[in-house]
Each structure stands twice: as structure tokens, then as C-alpha cells.
Subunit: 334 residues, 2 copies
Amino acid sequence: MPLIPFSELKAEFKRVLLKKGCQEDIADTCAQLFTETSCDGIYSHGVNRFPRVVEYIDKGYINLNATPTKVDGMGGFERWDGHLGFGNVNAKLAMDRAVELARTHGLGCVAIRNTNHWMRGGTYGWQAADAGCIGICWTNTQPNMPAWGASDRRIGNNPFIMALPRKEGHVVVDMAMAQFSYGQMEAAALRGDQLPVPGGYDEAGNISCDPVAISKTWRVLPIGFWKGSGMSIVLDLVATVLSGGNSSFRVGQLGGDEYQLSQVCIAIDATGIAGESFLSSAVNEVLADIKDSQRVNPDQEILYPGEKEARTRAQNLAHGIPVEDVVWNKIKSL
Amino acid sequence: MPLIPFSELKAEFKRVLLKKGCQEDIADTCAQLFTETSCDGIYSHGVNRFPRVVEYIDKGYINLNATPTKVDGMGGFERWDGHLGFGNVNAKLAMDRAVELARTHGLGCVAIRNTNHWMRGGTYGWQAADAGCIGICWTNTQPNMPAWGASDRRIGNNPFIMALPRKEGHVVVDMAMAQFSYGQMEAAALRGDQLPVPGGYDEAGNISCDPVAISKTWRVLPIGFWKGSGMSIVLDLVATVLSGGNSSFRVGQLGGDEYQLSQVCIAIDATGIAGESFLSSAVNEVLADIKDSQRVNPDQEILYPGEKEARTRAQNLAHGIPVEDVVWNKIKSL
């Protein structure tokens, strides 16, 4: 598998975006975010996803050169319209603005409607943390998971992100409300593997680790069963109400593709509030204690949320970002 | 089982609190919250828990007549010290203050340290929603769950609440990061029941629904496996950093009992932002769609988060709150 240097991968993304008619600054930001996501090891939402985003440009779902505008505001809260611009560029702008609001108000919230898939949600958590802020954000999605007790898919997997800044490496949780993504289940099925933990139900109605059996029902499991189902519903409703945009239900009525989403970005000025020294010492002693836990498998280190991404980033920056041949050739052909 | 009218149950709680030396206004608020929690059907954190709270008063963990004071503020954010007052009274005050801040700043956040167990976390979500606000809040706890990959308990189950106001009934998620509470597992074990879904690991290291087997390892499962483990860690860290208080790690060093906790209450003025009419219509169409899902079990209605509590409340208000004889006698003897 080729290892592509960060700058080369970014340049290739940017080339394609410019060719599609994207203006310089948006192409640059969008390419940067796709490259960072790939560099952190989230290939599914970075390099592997890029061809599909180009398809969405061609289908007219993404309004290449749109930039969000502010619709309304109330103190530390603002509502924006994304005008169907690039999801990742829009979400970055929303979190940037939430951070600005947090500088003035202690905390800030931007809800954005009419936006597109933001690719890796964790990106905006890392971004808030880079600015010394706690970042909390989520998006709705198309309906892709049954509610608890239901067999047809009417709620989204609505990823939720929570990030905390730390000099030695941010702490970042980035989790969809489904236990596994479709991509993860399809990949496991292709490899002939079982899922490491239950991911859904088989046709007999039993909880299953078998991705093939689950794909026959598409009754995928929410995290924590009824809990993740409930959280998915509330995340969707709050994003809808605050942005004045589409709910997952409405997105599902658009015809099957996933666009016109609603998102929320909250930033809290953690460094301003807590001071860098308390922040670091309080967080470090907790993480040290957790990492010192008794291990189930002596060879399996206990990682804090975000630790794996930070390590992958360091490695990929040093050696290049692994890109599958078929994906790399596809992107070069665009 | 006796069915106790709301007013009688509240009067009984209040009598005990006054006898213990609690001042009138605090006793009244505390008794009201215990009764509401019981009335909503969350007996474990209401009437069944009350005797243990009295024990904590006797042990000196709860400073009966303390009220929180503001330590610091920055726009819509404020940090408070709970001075070890009643957890539920303190948390109510924190969410009340967050709602006030939201009226001015669009959103408000109060982080409170040196406080006590807030009993049912959902209470403060319902409270924010009653005020027309979105409420988001969480608490840390003593370490009671292993981090993902660990076998000893070093993280909390840190309940997380998210609530949305709605005229026809608020939407409220109230979920601990552990799949089941110790109380739920002990009750299932006593009844000789299996858990409805996996709740932990047995001694052979297999995922198990058997509460007795799980009690031999206390390797209880976080919701969503690694996901809930990560979210628990971040919730604890954010509460610690924003309040300047104890982390779960520090709470665990206090000697085994659970006090001196850190909590965060966020309120967003949803009604002010979205307007009551959009809020209702957007939410209602989503809930109607979800409730109309195909059912796994035709006799099992799909409920939205908070629906069960609202129904139980109506029933218990009409017919009285069921209290187990042994608990009722115990409380009357205090």
C-alpha cells in the first residue's frame, strides 16, 4: 500500500476540488481537513470517502462555493445556514465561530442547518481543543438505525463528539450512536470476520456478532441498546430545533442520499476558566490512573480517548499516509 | 404495597429532614425532589434511596444547611462551590442558575464542585425543559466501572442527561455510562433473573447476561463497550476541569463513600431561539414517525425518551406512589 506524504495527499485533493470548480480558499480548507482525517487514521471518513464526495458534487448536492451565513443570534448562541456548502468546511467554520463566542461569553454555541456530511466529527473536537476549548458537537444523519423496539430504520446514528484540550495530547471522544458503521460491518463481512462485540440482530431476532446475519435484517444495535436509541433521538431533535433545519426524518424524505443536515457546535473556554496549569495536572493524574489499570490482556495497553489518533498521526506524518492502491488510483483519475 | 399520596410522601421526607436539623426551605426543596423522583417511577433514586441519604447525613458527608456560593464567572459560564450541601438541592440551584444565564446569553453553564450525589440526574433535565430550555447535565461518581480493556474499576458510570422542552411532554434522556446499575443487577440476581441484554463479563472473560456471574468479576459493561468507556472519561474530566473539583479518581481516594462530586449543568434557551410553534411541530413530527415504526414485538409500543416517566407520573399522581412496606416502615421510623 503506498504511503503518501501529507502535502502530496493534500495537493491531490485540492487539485480535484479546483478542477471541479471550487474556489482556492475553500478547496484548500476542504483538502486540509480530508488530509488531516486520513493522517489521523480515520481513512473511512478521509481518503476513502473522497470519491463519494466528488460524486455528491457531480450530483449537485454540494454547493461548491457556498459559505454559511448567520441567520440569527442571541448572546453566545448563533444560528447559521450552510447553504449546502462542503460539510467539513462548514462545520469548521461553525466550530471556529463557537470558539470566538466562547472567548466573549465563556461558552458559545453555533447551530447550522442546510449543511452536508461533515466527514469525521472528531475533527471539530480536535479543532476546539487546539483553541484551548472544550468542544462538544454532533450532527444528525439520514435514518439508518431502528429505534429501540423497532425493526425499521427511522433514527440516525448521529455522531457525538466531546473533546478536552491538554498540552500533552487532547482527550477526544468521537462516537456514532450505532455500535458499528455500515462500512465496518461490510469490511468485516468481506474479510469473513465476526464483529468483536454484538452489532445487531439476526433474522431469528437474536443479538449477533455476525455481520452477514445482521445485514439480512439491518437491525443494527445502538450503543447501550435503549440508551443510544434515546440519545440519538434527542441529539437529532436538539440539532433540528436549534438550527431550524431538517430532522433525520426530513433528511430521509429527500430520496435516499444524505445531505441537508443539521449540526450543533458548542465550545467552552476551558483554558480561560480553569487555567492551563490546573487543567493539565487534573487531567494528567486521571489519565495516568486509568492507564495504570489492571489489564484484561497483559499485552493490550489501556488507551485514553484520542490517544490512538495522536499516535497514528505522528506515525503517518513521519512515514506517509497509507492509501489503498485502488483508492489512490481512483483519486488520481478524478 | 401501599400507595402513598404525593403530599403524604413529601411530608414524611420533610419531617425526617427537619428532625435531622435541616432548615425549612432546604428541607422543603429536598423533600419535593425526592417525591418527584419517586412519582416518576425512579424509586431507586427516590424513596428507596432516602434512608441511605439520612445515613450520609449522620456520617457527616452532607452539610445539611449549606448552600452553594459562586466562585467565579465568565459571561454565560459560572463556577460554584456546593459546600457539601444536599446533592439534589445543589443541582437544582445549579440548573436554575444555568437557565437564568441562558436567558441573558442564549446558553448558560454552571459547573459545581464539592457537591453530593444528585439522586436522579433526569430531574435537572425535566427542570430545564419546564423552563423552556434544552438541558444538558452530567455528574461524575466514584470509580465503579473498569475502563475498556481493564479489569479493575477506575472510571465512574457518570450519568448524562439531555432534555428538550415540548408542550405535550418533554423529551428526556437520562443514562448512566454503565449498561446497568449495581442496584439493577442485584435486584435481578435476587429474583433469579437474567439481564435482558449483556451487562458485564463472567470469570471466564465472556460477555454475560447473568448478574450473579458478573458480580464475581464486577467487570460491568459500559454502554457501547469502548464508546461508553471513553465518554465516561471525558465527562469526568470536563466536570473536573470546569468545576475545579474532584475527579472520579479523587472521589475514589476519599475512603469508599461517594461524596464531594463535580457536576455540570448547561441550559440553552430553546424556546427563545426556535419559537414554541416550530419547536413543537418539528419535534412532534419526528416523534410521531418514530412511534409509528414497525415493532419487533407487536404488543410492545415504541416509546420516546421520557414518555414512560410522564405516564408513570400521571398514574402515581392519580393513585398514589407505590412504596415497598419495608421502605415505608423504615422511613417512618427515622
